[in-house]
């Protein structure tokens, strides 16, 4: 039922989300059962109305004390108490199982929420093993990854339903979460704390890969920018450094600002605008030209490049795989 929806959480693809599922189903089934039972009791009770011959006038039916009925309250309390107690104990057990961060994580990420994109930092043992990317998290399958969550401006919330419930990203504090994917695949994430006009378009891809694929990806991300070879790409590189470089970074070039998504190896990413569009030369051109048309109120200014400049910029950016 929910397997087909990208953000549904009635199916799990990782340990943290899976640990919660049985409890969720238990509570869901108890809840539905309670509604059905109460509904049935209510309808049965209404049958008493027929005994009055369906009187429309209240006054025509006499008032009487009737049975005290207190036993119903007693029974009702006992009957509701049992599932409540089970849910309570189960909640505590599950909470203990999923809340703590993994003691010795194989991989630690720093993820920062910004209006309206995600900054993802991979921490290596050495500075040269550390890099930053955006809106896309790659993790090796079967490994617990510690995620340190930061609020870059306003409060956001980190949520990858198939892998983990929500943890808020609050300025001034670091919250901890963790991810573990059971199988390779692409899992959608979404900001789940209202953070401004483009809260709707603040999505994230978590890509779980076999360990060797993950290492290949990481090695690629660690490389500096690919130098331009054609004249158009050379012109494009200069434009990117001059124009884009006031907010963005492409490692190994003069573009070294950190206020906006890191564009190193941009062409290797799946999406643009935090999950808004698939990343193709066409959509990239449209985005650079008029981002506000695609994502109203976003903080990326429209660039108003000439057609020639735009195609030079594209040629250079498409090189950055």
């Amino acid at each position: 039922m929910s397997g087909s929806t990208p953000l549904g959480y009635l199916d799990a693809a990782g340990a943290r989300a899976a640990a919660i599922l049985p409890l969720t189903w238990f509570m869901l089934i108890v809840s539905i059962a309670v509604c059905v039972i109460i509904g049935a009791v209510l309808v049965r009770g209404l049958r008493g109305a027929q005994a009055n011959g369906g009187a429309a006038e209240t006054r025509s039916v006499g008032v009487s004390e009737g049975p005290s009925g207190i036993a119903w309250i007693r029974r009702g309390l006992v009957l509701s108490g049992i599932p409540l107690l089970i849910a309570l104990v189960w909640t505590m057990v599950t909470l203990a199982a999923v809340s703590g961060p993994p003691p010795r994580p194989a991989l630690t990420l720093d993820v920062t929420g910004h209006q309206w994109w995600w900054e993802v930092r991979y921490n290596g043992a050495q500075p040269q093993d550390t890099f930053t990317t955006a809106n896309e998290i790659h993790i090796p399958v079967g490994v617990r990854v510690l995620v340190r969550l930061h609020g870059g401006d306003v409060i956001h919330s980190f949520w990858v339903p198939k892998l983990s419930g929500k943890t808020d990203m609050i300025p001034g504090q670091i919250n901890l979460g963790w991810l573990e994917a059971a199988a390779a695949g692409r899992y959608l994430g979404q900001c789940s704390e209202y953070c401004g006009p483009q809260h709707a378009h603040m999505m994230l891809d978590v890509i779980a890969q076999a360990p060797q694929d993950f290492e290949r990806w990481r090695a690629l991300q660690l490389k500096p920018a690919i130098p331009p070879t054609t004249p158009a790409a050379v012109r494009g590189a200069a434009l990117v450094e001059y124009r884009c470089g006031s907010c963005h970074q492409i490692r190994g070039t003069l573009a070294a600002a950190t206020g906006a998504p890191d564009l190193s190896h941009l062409a290797s990413r799946r999406s643009l605008g935090a999950g808004l569009l698939p990343n193709t030369p066409g959509t990239l051109a449209a985005w650079i030209d008029n981002a506000h048309n695609l994502k109203p109120d976003c903080l990326m200014p429209n660039q108003q490049l000439t057609g020639a400049d735009l195609s030079d910029v594209l040629e250079y950016l498409e090189l950055q795989r």
């Binding site: 108890v30 309670v34 109305a49 008032v63 809340s99 969550l149 504090q173 209202y194 709707a200």
Partner: protein
């Protein structure tokens, strides 16, 4: 009200001459002065109800526009900013300007009539509460209509509400407006508490109080405790925005989470404050149609109070995803699960009342009894969000949106509409049309469930709250279309109510004093009641004074003979628990001072939003003069201690 010189009230029978004498004291003034000066709780109560319904309609229209935007994927009827202001204003309207004031309206109207008094304890304060509510509502809507409505949701998290991220006037209107509205809630709560403890008819001990009174009394205590928290939070936000204080700014040593604690320590008790009185309406109304007393009166009354007490300890369940320590959260999780129990008491009491009664199916009964099911649906979804790990998935999805609408519409709107069918005859002296009433009920019931039952699934399929648009690949298209259709069906049901009220206002069947053969004091006086409510102050000997003789309870309530109190605008003060007669209370005359005071407060707040010093100063002077005029010592109101 003040105690006047010591004398024992004359006890005697009701008579035409006596009523004429009372009318001399109580007759309302006409004209503008009468309009702005009225302190009659019945007038104020109806004003509250009508105003709250206007806001309900406005909030409903906002919802319908949003449902058009969300009816299909990638629709662009609204810009993101328009959508943000709409959902924020919708929440603000329904929660603050409809749900609580409408209950205040009913309690204002009904309390003195149910309790056997001639007015509230502080009639002028009562008038002030209404004028402040009206003025703050207009103030908040001025923001919205000038494009400066709140845009950060009704719970308004910082830092997004702070100036660097929200430079417009939107959040200034919202923060000042909420401080403004808080005054109305606070004075109203104080008035209800004193009224409940000091003005009940002789003999109406606490265990004979209608459950509606228990609900409103409990809610009033809660409001008195928690409204300061939210007023403070909004004041701090405004100071952060306008004066550079750093309460919520991380860079200045502040903490965004402080906002959430201050807001939710108010917010959750508030939720109970806007459902407990409505549950009280069901507890009082349902038994009338089941032709028997409520099952488990004492347990229901106690569970009302217990809900509120537990309700003070659950606010963190709105903050399970904020990274608080697990041990702390587990306490709040346990409290949130445990709070189901007092609610279960009420549910089983209602069910048993129906089962062991002889239900007569009227429109009011349909609204009251269907509320039980809606209450349970809203309750079990709340139970699911009470579990921390489960809530990490559920929170901020449409599951929560469905939950809160079952709570607010199921436990507030349905009982309130039932209460309109039940008490409209008392207020207007005419019955609402029953046939139209059935249509009204079924259209609302079907529309509501069509809109909000599938929404649980939308949430389970992952749709986040507060997104202005979604893609077709997300799998929410059909469900959203159903919800949008349901919302329009529901809205037409509300429209039918309006049609019924307008038609029956002048054309309804005459009601008589007690059309439902109900047991409580408000039904012992004519419909609509005389301006002084009770010609003689009744003396009460049981929970069901008008059913005496038919039940096994004592049968010595006295409704036609009692304290006459006709030497002025007087009512009887009684002791807090036993309600034994204590003193004669002087009820103040009509006065425009509350309205002028409210205008002064409104001017002050407007000056603050406009940053206009002259306006602030002039308004503050008006405010001060109105206070002086109001509080100026008068010989006839001279207070004397009872012997």
């Amino acid at each position: 009200m003040k105690a006047v010189q010591l004398r024992a009230p004359v006890v005697g029978p009701d008579s035409v001459a006596h009523q004429a004498r009372l009318l001399q004291w109580w007759e309302a003034e006409g004209g503008l002065k009468g309009f702005f000066g009225s302190v009659d709780h019945k007038v104020i109560g109806i004003r509250y109800i009508v105003t709250a319904f206007v806001f309900l309609m406005l909030g409903g229209l906002e919802a319908l526009v949003m449902r058009l935007q969300l009816a299909g994927p990638d629709r662009s009827l609204l810009t993101p900013q328009q959508y943000d202001q709409l959902f924020s204003t919708h929440g603000m309207t329904m929660i603050f300007l409809y749900a609580s004031p409408v209950l205040s309206g009913f309690s204002n109207y009904l309390w003195p009539l149910m309790l056997g008094s001639r007015d509230m304890a502080f009639p002028r304060l009562n008038a002030l509460g209404y004028w402040i509510y009206l003025a703050s509502g207009i103030f908040l809507y001025t923001g919205f209509l000038t494009g400066n409505g709140p845009n950060d949701g009704w719970f308004n998290y910082v830092p997004y509400a702070s100036r660097p991220y929200n430079p417009g006037l939107n959040e200034d209107f919202y923060s000042l407006g909420m401080v403004f509205l808080g005054i109305a809630t606070t004075v109203g709560a104080a008035n209800f508490i004193v009224t409940a403890f000091r003005t009940r008819a002789p003999g109406m001990s606490l265990d004979r109080l209608p459950i509606l009174a228990w609900g409103t009394l409990t809610a009033s205590f809660a409001n008195l405790v928690v409204v300061p928290a939210v007023s403070l939070a909004f004041l701090m936000l405004w100071l952060d925005r306008q004066f550079g204080t750093q309460f919520f700014n991380t860079a200045g040593g502040g903490a965004p989470l402080l906002w959430q604690h201050l807001f939710w320590i108010f917010g959750h008790p508030w939720v109970y404050a806007i459902v407990l009185p409505a549950m009280g309406m069901v507890s009082d109304g349902l038994p009338v149609f089941c032709r028997r007393p409520l099952v488990g009166y004492s347990l229901v009354a106690i569970s009302t109070v217990a809900t509120m007490i537990l309700g003070f300890g659950v606010w963190v369940h709105h903050m399970f995803a904020t990274g608080l320590p697990g041990l702390g959260m587990s306490f709040f999780s346990a409290a949130s699960i445990a709070i189901t129990l007092p609610s279960a008491v009420a549910v089983f009491a209602w069910l048993a009342t129906i089962r062991f009664g002889k239900p007569v199916i009227t429109t009011a009964f349909l609204f009251f009894s269907s509320m039980i099911l809606l209450f349970v649906i809203g309750g079990v979804s709340g139970f699911m969000t009470a579990s921390v790990p489960v809530d990490w998935q559920l929170t901020d999805t449409y599951f929560v949106v469905a939950h809160l609408h079952y709570v607010l519409i199921g436990i507030n709107v349905f009982p309130v509409v039932g209460a309109i069918y039940f008490w409209f005859p008392k207020m207007r002296g005419r019955m609402l049309d029953e046939r139209l009433g059935r249509w009204n009920f079924w259209v609302m019931f079907i529309g509501f469930n069509l809109a909000f039952l599938p929404m649980h699934l939308t949430g389970l399929l992952g749709m986040p709250r507060r997104i202005y648009s979604y893609g077709p690949e997300m799998g929410w298209t059909t469900l959203n279309l159903i919800t949008s259709l349901g919302s329009f069906v529901f809205a037409s049901g509300v429209l039918l109510l309006l049609v019924n009220v307008i038609r029956s206002w002048s054309k309804g069947q005459p009601a008589g004093a007690n059309p439902w053969d109900a047991p409580t004091l408000e039904w012992s006086v004519s419909s609509p009641p005389p301006v002084y409510n009770f010609a003689v102050i009744p003396t009460v000997a049981s929970r069901h004074p008008l059913w005496e003789g038919r039940l096994s309870s004592p049968t010595c309530s006295s409704l036609q003979e009692g304290p006459l109190l006709d030497e002025g605008r007087e009512s009887l003060g009684t002791s807090a628990v036993e309600a034994s007669p204590d003193m004669i209370l002087e009820v103040p005359q009509d006065s425009c001072a509350p309205a002028v005071l409210a205008a002064g407060v409104a001017g002050t707040f407007s000056g603050l939003i406009l940053k206009s010093e002259p306006l602030v100063i002039v308004s503050a002077v008006v405010l001060g003069l109105a206070l002086l005029w109001w509080l100026w010592p008068r010989r006839q109101l001279r207070e004397r201690e009872p012997a």
